[in-house]
Subunit: 236 residues, 2 copies
DNA sequence: GTCTATAGTCGGATAGAC
DNA sequence: GTCTATCCGACTATAGAC
């Protein structure tokens, strides 16, 4: 039950690193992965360099080759690590919402759970210092699809958008899978990124120097207002 | 009154290209700029290459050097060109909204103009085929601030967010410059990017193959619903 | 497992002819 | 104004010793 888990992560050439027994070099592998997560968070796939990563990890270039079979293998390993860590961070809210959808199909229950999910996501994306780089990684791969797009779409974006859309459909009284609900889900999730991908703009606009707990609370209340408004009918 | 205007765009070294008279090479310069806009739209500053740009423009590398004093100069010239073209595209809606703010300070007028501004922006960002690359350029520079960040923030993001925030504040009955209104403005503008930066996710989620007039209409109606909800009070 | 040394490629920029 | 030729640095990956 380690950070990365024991199972299926080696590429063909690097298989030997996972032979049964003590696996002496696992710590080196882990250090490389950690450094790479940071590096690929700071810069895109093309711009980040294996030299820089190897140096920061205190190993030489061929070592990286040995464990991950090259730059692309390392990049994809990072994507898988992000998926796994993201799951651990948001499991609670996600399963609670999923159960609620089945247990109590009223609009107000769905609204409460939508708020809970969005709060969890916002806290993860904006609040957690370490998640900042991961979010950048995911956002970049979304905009300029690369070697890890499929991994991230199938494990993060796809399920996330769909479960959000399900909650919104329930609030609006629409059938599951309604296109309008999906659009609203995309708009809502995308607005979250104002304070993540768009951090430099947001800081400058708000006159903040960082997004701490107080700032996060203001953002959350803005998001709540948006969610409160979903599906309300009003005159005029 | 040409595409780029006559005035102050040369760097020190490239000054000679703008000496009085016929300026024989202006057409070459223009061609390079056009190609560069496309190239820097498709790829980031680091990833796009001057070789590729020069070749696509049908000139050699030193020519690029001659007109723009290197890669960075070309990049900033692109940013300035985008600002200028964006202004031409949205002048109408922007000035109308600005006047309305002064003429008629009711919430409903502000709401109508907010819708008009957002529609104009969405049509520009999502609808216009040529703006696609420009939007990518701007979005990238927002996330990873580079040589052109200041140009784009001061001329695009800053004014855009502020005028949106002003309209929202008016709808909400808050004083101009209220932080809550600014947050709502950032959230609203950021949600627009779901169908721009997030195009690959959006297409896949919606099952669309492209965003044509019909799809754009659905997005606009989602945005309208969001705007309609701003500032409404409702009993739970 | 991890290293040194190096191959092979490609990037931006410059010198200097025309 | 625009070119050809070239420099030099940085990158990914491999060969092969330890």
């Amino acid at each position: 039950m380690d950070e990365t888990g024991p199972a299926p992560r080696k590429t063909a050439k690097a298989r030997s690193a996972a032979t049964a027994g003590y696996r002496k070099g696992d710590e080196t592998r882990q250090r490389l992965l950690e450094v790479a997560l940071k590096a690929f968070g700071d810069a895109s796939y093309k711009v980040a360099t294996t030299r820089q990563i190897a140096e920061a990890a205190g190993v030489s270039l061929p070592t990286l080759q040995y464990y991950f079979d090259g730059k692309e293998g390392l990049y994809c390993a990072c994507a898988e690590a992000i998926v796994e860590r993201y799951r651990r961070h948001t499991r609670t809210a996600a399963t609670a919402a999923a159960e609620a959808v089945h247990a109590d199909r009223t609009a107000e229950t769905a609204r409460l759970h939508l708020k809970a999910v969005i709060h969890a996501l916002a806290e993860f994306l904006v609040g957690s210092r370490e998640a900042e780089g991961w979010a950048q990684f995911v956002a970049r791969e979304m905009r300029d699809p690369g070697p890890a797009f499929t991994i991230l779409y199938e494990n993060l974006w796809g399920p996330g958008v769909l479960s959000t859309a399900r909650l919104i459909a329930q609030i609006l009284g629409l059938p599951e899978g309604d296109p309008g609900a999906r659009i609203r889900a995309l708009l809502l999730l995308s607005s979250l990124l104002a304070f993540q991908s768009g951090r430099s703009i947001a800081l400058r606009t708000m006159g903040w120097s960082a997004i701490g707990p107080d700032e996060l609370a203001m953002v959350l209340s803005g998001l709540d207002a948006e969610i409160d408004a979903v599906g309300r009918n009003f005159a005029s």
